[in-house]
Point group: C2
Chain length 240, copies 2
């Protein structure tokens, strides 16, 4: 029922990584411990592979979803598409790129980037599951907000960990990526939650995002919401 | 009824041009007489603009199509997605790129490239119109074949004109693009229909494609098929 949509989300995540890794974007040579797509197949093929994967994600939902009424499939496709484009992932990336070197990035600006770049696909995952699973409109909207909260929570926790943990504790090796990240942080003075609201306020904000997320799950069948509660707690309390 | 799908096809065509023009692809500075997307906004934004446009094409069909049953919208989205990806446009481009410098390109190979790179979107346009317009399955398939034929016809005629007409008659200026094309033709010994089957056989093939296409339109309401007949004739008899 929801498996084609779940696969579609994986495809979209992967295509976003293939395009992100391109020399004109993050210029990464390695992804998941292996040479990136353009290192193996050249840049032109990497661009086309991402395009084909993006298109196939919609084909897969349209062609392979069974046991769901077509009106819900159309709604799901609309939601998924919106999470990728100029109101979703791509918007977050464009604003992120355009913000490099800016000194006046505020909280709203930072939240825009994370809500679009990180939370949008999580939101799509939750909303598509709800729509294709036959959820009521009000439940779809609750799950949308839940996912947006934990998406932002992920990023706030990431920023906190970057400040409070050593590289060793984070389990990151001092490879090319880390060095590049550090250099980028120093050069562009990358804005983070601890920088904008200090570490204690950032922790309070993370706690608020988590409790708001969990509150949105009240009223759902406990058996069904249990994995979502576990996910929120995992994101909130992860140590690396 | 079909307007959102028509707009979606324009978006997909445009995104394919934005990505095609990238330095890692055709490296074009001008498109439609204006600087290409990446020349104005940089490569990273051009990649993201194409991705966003591709996603929005599906969003637009899903959200804005009215007066059509959802099962037909789902079918249309499946068809459109297929025409872009690994069984459509992207496949044609990958094989085209991979064929550069090959000396053993035969007719099947050449046809694969053109059917995917040129005819696939035309096919999607015809098929989506037929599906969203409420056409019967057999009519959808007839229009699919019609579009594939005139898509291939377009390419065969293009190849013939390249051989039989001077640059002046073609109305092309000796700008960067033309020079680059000529150099590419010489260097890679680009395969064309006249090269593979000589000029007279190419003309016969074009005539056959056109008559097959027109035959597929028999049985349709003459008023509705008239623009399609005119299109086939225009493609067959254009002089530049």
């Amino acid at each position: 029922m929801v498996m084609p949509a779940a696969c579609a989300l994986e495809m979209i995540h992967t295509m976003s990584l293939v395009h992100d890794d391109l020399p004109c974007m993050d210029n990464d040579d390695l992804r998941r411990g292996k040479p990136t797509n353009h290192k193996v197949y050249c840049e032109d093929i990497a661009v086309l592979a991402g395009d084909a994967l993006l298109a196939f994600s919609f084909e897969h939902i349209a062609v392979s979803t069974v046991g769901v009424t077509p009106d819900r499939i159309v709604r799901a496709i609309g939601e998924l598409a919106k999470s990728i484009g100029a109101e979703g992932l791509a918007a977050g990336q464009v604003v992120d790129i355009s913000s490099e070197g800016l000194t006046n990035v505020g909280l709203d600006h930072l939240e825009f980037i994370h809500v679009h770049k990180t939370a949008a696909l999580l939101e799509a995952a939750a909303v598509l599951g709800a729509i294709l699973g036959g959820g009521r409109d009000e439940d779809v909207e609750k799950l949308r907000k839940f996912a947006r909260n934990i998406g932002l929570l992920f990023q706030v926790v990431d920023d906190i960990l970057d400040v409070t943990k050593s590289s060793k504790e984070l389990g990151k090796t001092a490879g090319k990526d880390l060095v590049a990240d550090k250099v980028k942080d120093l050069v562009a003075d990358k804005v983070t939650y601890p920088k904008l609201m200090r570490i204690n306020k950032s922790k309070e904000f993370a706690e608020k995002l988590k409790s708001d997320a969990l509150e949105l799950l009240q009223g759902f069948d406990p058996e069904k919401s249990a994995p979502l509660i576990a996910l929120a707690n995992y994101i909130a309390y992860r140590q690396n």
